[in-house]
Symmetry: C2
Subunit: 414 residues, 2 copies
């Protein structure tokens, strides 16, 4: 990684350098929110002349816009404030989950400009039907984006399961095995929203996207660069962020906290093993323990929240018990990874107030660094439901920020 020599002589490919520096300048404006050319030059360590030339190109290609003058009031353009464009290139995120589908269009600044969620039971439905439904939602989102002069340059589809090389290897709670998710989605979408150039489609695990949304857009991760993200759904998704980057594992399958074991002789999990955490602290297990119809989905979670709010003893006991079991497993994960924080997402978010005491009890008792005492504030509620779609759209936006030149001619296409 660090083995690249600092070039002593010339020989560095000028086009490559310029492309790299275009990204540096765009990112500098993006990260600052707004900035003058002079501030950008200071920040990235290039000359003002070089920055001006790069900014010109970014303005022409619609990645940046100019706003008014700064109060420091030097005449002419150098004092003009730059912002990333609110029109043009954008990202489309698509989240397939067990009981909903969500799509989101995010602009270059990271704002979610379109968001559509459809509650639907995807269990027992064929992958192509589910992905067809998701493509319909996506087509509606693309139409709304077009009305706002936004042009998504890629779609990122996320699924609660093991995803690699464009294929869902296994998504136990959807009942999917070896589903070519990218191809199926692209096919459905191009039939619904024909385009001169078909939208490139990529894919990943849903918890990864939710964790990235938390990292990029969440309020709870301010200053936190390493965290464990848990998302309570029908199953339990997990993702690890280390030093501001997703830890993907050697084969892209890291973060499967829902299949850590609570009791080797416990109930059978759809994954084939006994006693996985999902069987104790997943949505169905928790609703069942509280005496609520387990197929009620989001309505069931709302009902559970109502019951704990009015101190229903069965509901409180169920949440407390799930919290203890979750706490034991999360303590193990914290002992292994030593993160700064643990974020509770998905339906855990709505229950954090009641879950947290039991989880924190175990953390305080079991984490041997001693950094997880009850008042440590390291256990936090994460972003609201559906943000995996925003994180997925953000993945596309990050691709644009990393190499704007690669997307320079896409803006006016369709």
């Amino acid at each position: 990684m660090n083995n690249t020599p600092i070039p002593l002589g010339p020989k560095a490919d000028k086009a490559t350098v310029r492309r790299h520096n275009l990204s540096l300048v765009l990112r500098a404006v993006h990260d600052a929110g707004d900035a003058t050319r002079a501030a950008v030059a200071t920040r990235v360590g290039l000359t003002r002349a070089a920055v001006s030339s790069l900014v010109e190109q970014l303005l022409e290609n619609g990645f940046l816009t100019e706003w008014g003058k700064t109060s420091s009031g030097q005449a002419g353009r150098p004092g003009t404030v730059l912002k990333v464009a609110r029109t043009g290139p954008a990202g489309l995120g698509v989240e397939i989950n067990v009981d909903y589908v969500a799509v989101c269009v995010v602009d270059l600044a990271g704002t979610d400009r379109v968001r559509l969620v459809e509650h639907v039971d995807n269990r027992g439905v064929s992958p192509s039907e589910v992905l067809g439904r998701a493509a319909q939602l996506a087509a509606r989102a693309l139409a709304s984006a077009a009305e706002q002069d936004l042009t998504p340059v890629g779609a990122h589809v996320v699924v609660p399961g093991l995803v690699t090389g464009g294929t869902v290897r296994q998504a136990p709670n959807l009942g999917w095995t070896r589903v070519a998710v990218e191809g199926l989605f692209a096919q459905s979408l191009s039939a619904l929203a024909p385009a001169r150039r078909p939208l490139p489609v990529s894919s990943d695990n849903e918890a990864n996207a939710a964790a990235l949304a938390e990292l990029w857009y969440g309020a709870g991760t301010e200053g936190v660069r390493s965290f464990l993200y848990l998302t309570g759904e029908i199953g339990i998704g997990g993702a690890l962020v280390v030093g501001g980057e997703l830890l993907r594992g050697a084969h892209g399958f890291a973060g499967e906290i829902g299949h850590m074991v609570v009791d080797p002789d416990g109930p059978l999990c759809p994954c084939g093993a006994h006693g996985c955490l999902e069987q104790y602290a997943g949505q169905a297990a928790l609703l069942a323990a509280a005496g609520i119809e387990t197929t009620a989905g989001v309505l069931g979670v709302a009902e559970l929240q109502r019951r704990v709010r009015r101190a229903d003893p069965d509901a409180l006991a169920a949440v407390e018990r799930a919290g203890r079991q979750l706490g034991c497993v999360v303590s193990g994960a914290v002992n292994l990874f030593d993160p700064d924080a643990v974020m509770l997402g998905g339906f855990y978010r709505a229950l954090t107030r009641w879950l947290a005491p039991a989880v924190e009890h175990e953390l305080a008792l079991r984490v041997i660094s001693g950094l997880w005492a009850k008042d440590s504030g390291r256990l936090r509620a994460a972003s609201p439901l559906g943000d995996a779609a925003r994180g997925a759209a953000g993945v596309i936006v990050q691709e644009v920020l990393a190499d704007p030149a690669a997307f320079a001619d896409r803006g006016d296409d369709d």
Copy 2:
């Protein structure tokens, strides 16, 4: 990380660039084993003239040596083979464990040139006495190193516990709390082996050093860049290597797999929690389960090995049970972290043949990626006992390789 601009103009500090390139050249020779100047130039992407000048400095300062001529037979120096020096700068590693102390001197090529191990029960002995004993062993190692013209430029002390900022925060199995390990060791050593310039002392967790030894010097990690390392001692140490680098966690406390929970209502652990893995698969627990005196240390492990070898039913049952419990916890760690391999170190190494079937059974059943089937070869025996000391010495060697200029004037000192 990637936000450094590729410098368009000059302005890069020439001394810094040269220092960086000295390391590049030294590492290139180190990694290749031996190399001509021309091969080095190709590998690092610098001109042959630049490489020759850097090589000259590295030869003068004793980091490199020249050997014979290559068969390709161009006349003069360019065809001479370079190797890293087998004399001069070296690393001193010191491993404090519960029932032994080990020291190791490693040369720049990574060979362990001195190795001393003293079996001793450190439980209930004061930290200053233990560190004094380690310093005696280190002084003997330094004398042996001097006889071989090796000059350790730093000592790295590793301890089975949480180590940060030169202090052992907690080492439950040694009974240490808040021990200023670096200061105490440096003090003892300078009294025993006075030097014009005292040896700089650094410190870390013992399992981290053992994992690094496995990464740098182990045979089992050939081509493996991400692995979980487990070391069975009185306690159970753990470390995570991701993409060839130690994953330290946000506060340096990652890898504490010994305190992942098997049963929340299980036996009390010295850490204060109940049912930690150590209480099931640590040395004392395993010996007790097999009916062997738990304070027998290495002799106890040897006895256990003898008994499983002759198929003693109690011993086999104890190892099999520990393997299942270890397997459940390790499966959870693999689901979370998705490594390429799991390495069994410490006393597990001697028992791998009998432990592995049970551990592999759980891995095959519980790891949802499906990559850990019984014949996957991903569970492996690690390097022999004591290699944490070699890894610790290697940490110093890596510091020299990373910035030889910082150590250029140390060679002839004492």
